[in-house]
Symmetry: C2
C-alpha cells in the first residue's frame, strides 16, 4: 500500500466541469475527503468500495477545522493508501490548497495536484465575459471577507480602482461592499450576482451598485455566490432589459 | 442537420485538464475549429470523420483574422451542423469568446459554452498558490499587451498596487514590465515565469524583479508564458534556493 494524497479541484458546481484528470484520480482513490461545495454526483466516479468522508459544514454541527482536515488526509493516506482531497473550484484560488499540501508533505507522503475550474470563471457560463476587447484589460479577484467575517482591505482598494472586480465570499457583506463603491461615486456601475452558479439552482441577478441590494432582497439569493462589478457586465444581451426590473435567470 | 456552435475551453495545456463536458462536446462535433494554444491530442476525442480546421498562426503564414474565424464558425455550422470552437484556457478570460458568441448568435444559430481551466490557474500546478492565508487576499489578472503589442495601462496600475499580479501575454515586454515595478521600488518582489505550463515542455523560473530579466535570458523561456508577481511566489518550497541561481523546473 502506497500512501498518497491528490488535491483535486472539483470545479464550480456542474459535475461535468471537473477535469478528465480529476475523474481519473477519483477512479484511483481509496478514500475521498470532500467539501460542502463539491457536487456529490462526482462521487459516482469512485469505485463502490471507496471510503467517502464529508468534511464540510453540517446544519447544527460544527464543521471540521482545517487542522482536523489536514490530519484526516494524513491518517487516511497511512491507513488506506490513495486519498483524494476533493475541493470546490480550484484548490489554489482561496482554497487553502497550499496549506493542505504543505501539511501532507511534512509527513513525506507523496502529493499530486489537479487544477479545477474556479468559481471565478462562472460569469462566462452565463454570457458575461470576464474580459472583452475594448471594455477592460484586467480583472481583480478578491476574497471579500476574512476568516473573522470582516471585509478585507483589498475590497476597499478594489472599490477605488478602475479594475473589473470579482468578489468571492461577499454575499453577506453586500450592503457594506456597495457602500464602498458608492463612496467612490460608482453608483451606476453594472453588477451581477451569481448564486449556485452552473448548478440546476443557479441564479443570476443584474443591477447597478445603486439597485443591487434591493434586488437581492426581492429575489432571495443564497450562498455560495460570486459578484462581478464592472462595465463588462453590461455586455450581457439582457442587461439593459434586466437592470430595470427584478429578474432572476434560470439556465436550462 | 441542426446548426450549432459550442465554445469549449481546452484548458491550459495538459490534455487531461479539459473538462468532461468539453470531451462530450468534442465527441458530438461535426467540425472542430482549433487554436495554436490547444493541445492537438484533444482532437483524439473526436470521431475520425470530424472535419478539423486549424485556425492558429503558422510559421511564415498570416494567421486567420478574428473576422475570418467568426465566419468559419457560421459557415461550417450551416454546412456541417455542430461546430466545436476549441480555444486554449477559458473562452472568456482574454479569449474573445464573447465576440465569437455574439457573431454566431446574430445568425440565430444556437450556442453553448463550456468553461475551461485558464492559464491563470497554472501557478497552482507548480506549487505556487494564487492565494495563501496570511499572505494575500486578492490577485489582479492583467493582459500585459494590447493588440498593437504595447503595454496596457492596467499593467502600470497593477505595478503601483499592493495586489498579487498575474500577467498574461507579457513575456516579450518583460523588460518594460520590470521597469514599471522598479519605478515603484519593488525590486525585491518575488516573481515567477511559467512557460508552456502543464505540458511536457513546461518550465518555471523564479527570481525577483531585479534578477528575472537576466534569468530569462540565460534559461531561454518561450511563449506562451504567464507571469506571477507577489509574495505568494516565495511560498514555494524551493524559492529561496532557486532565487539565487538560474534554475528551470521540469515537472515529471
Amino acid at each position: 500500500m502506497q500512501p498518497q494524497v491528490t488535491l483535486v479541484g472539483a470545479g464550480p458546481g456542474d459535475p461535468d466541469l471537473i477535469s478528465l484528470k480529476g475523474v481519473k484520480a477519483l477512479k484511483n482513490a481509496d478514500v475521498v475527503l470532500y467539501d460542502a461545495l463539491v457536487n456529490p454526483l462526482l462521487l459516482n466516479h469512485c469505485s463502490p468500495s471507496v471510503k467517502k468522508v464529508y468534511v464540510g459544514k453540517r446544519a447544527g454541527k460544527a464543521s471540521y477545522t482545517q487542522e482536523e482536515i489536514n490530519q484526516l488526509m494524513v491518517s487516511h493516506a497511512l491507513s488506506h493508501g490513495h486519498v483524494v482531497r476533493l475541493k470546490g473550484g480550484d484548490p489554489f484560488i482561496f482554497g487553502r490548497g497550499k496549506e493542505e499540501l504543505e501539511y501532507v508533505q511534512f509527513f513525506n507522503i507523496p502529493t499530486e495536484v489537479v487544477l479545477g475550474i474556479s468559481s471565478v470563471n462562472l460569469p462566462g457560463y452565463y454570457g458575461i465575459p470576464l474580459t472583452k476587447r475594448g471594455i477592460n484589460q484586467s480583472f481583480w479577484v478578491v476574497t471579500a471577507t476574512n476568516k473573522e467575517g470582516n471585509l478585507t482591505d483589498d475590497v476597499r482598494l478594489a472599490a477605488q480602482s478602475s479594475a473589473t472586480v470579482v468578489l468571492l465570499m461577499g454575499l453577506k457583506k453586500l450592503e457594506e461592499i456597495v457602500t464602498l463603491f458608492k463612496e467612490n461615486e460608482k453608483g451606476d456601475l453594472p453588477i451581477a450576482i451569481i448564486s449556485k452558479g452552473s448548478t440546476v439552482e443557479g441564479k443570476v441577478i443584474f443591477g447597478t451598485i445603486d439597485t443591487i441590494v434591493e434586488k437581492k432582497r426581492k429575489v432571495g439569493v443564497t450562498s455560495p455566490a460570486m459578484i462581478i462589478i464592472g462595465e463588462v457586465v453590461a455586455s450581457h444581451e439582457q442587461f439593459n432589459e434586466w437592470r430595470e426590473e427584478t429578474a432572476a435567470y434560470f439556465p436550462a
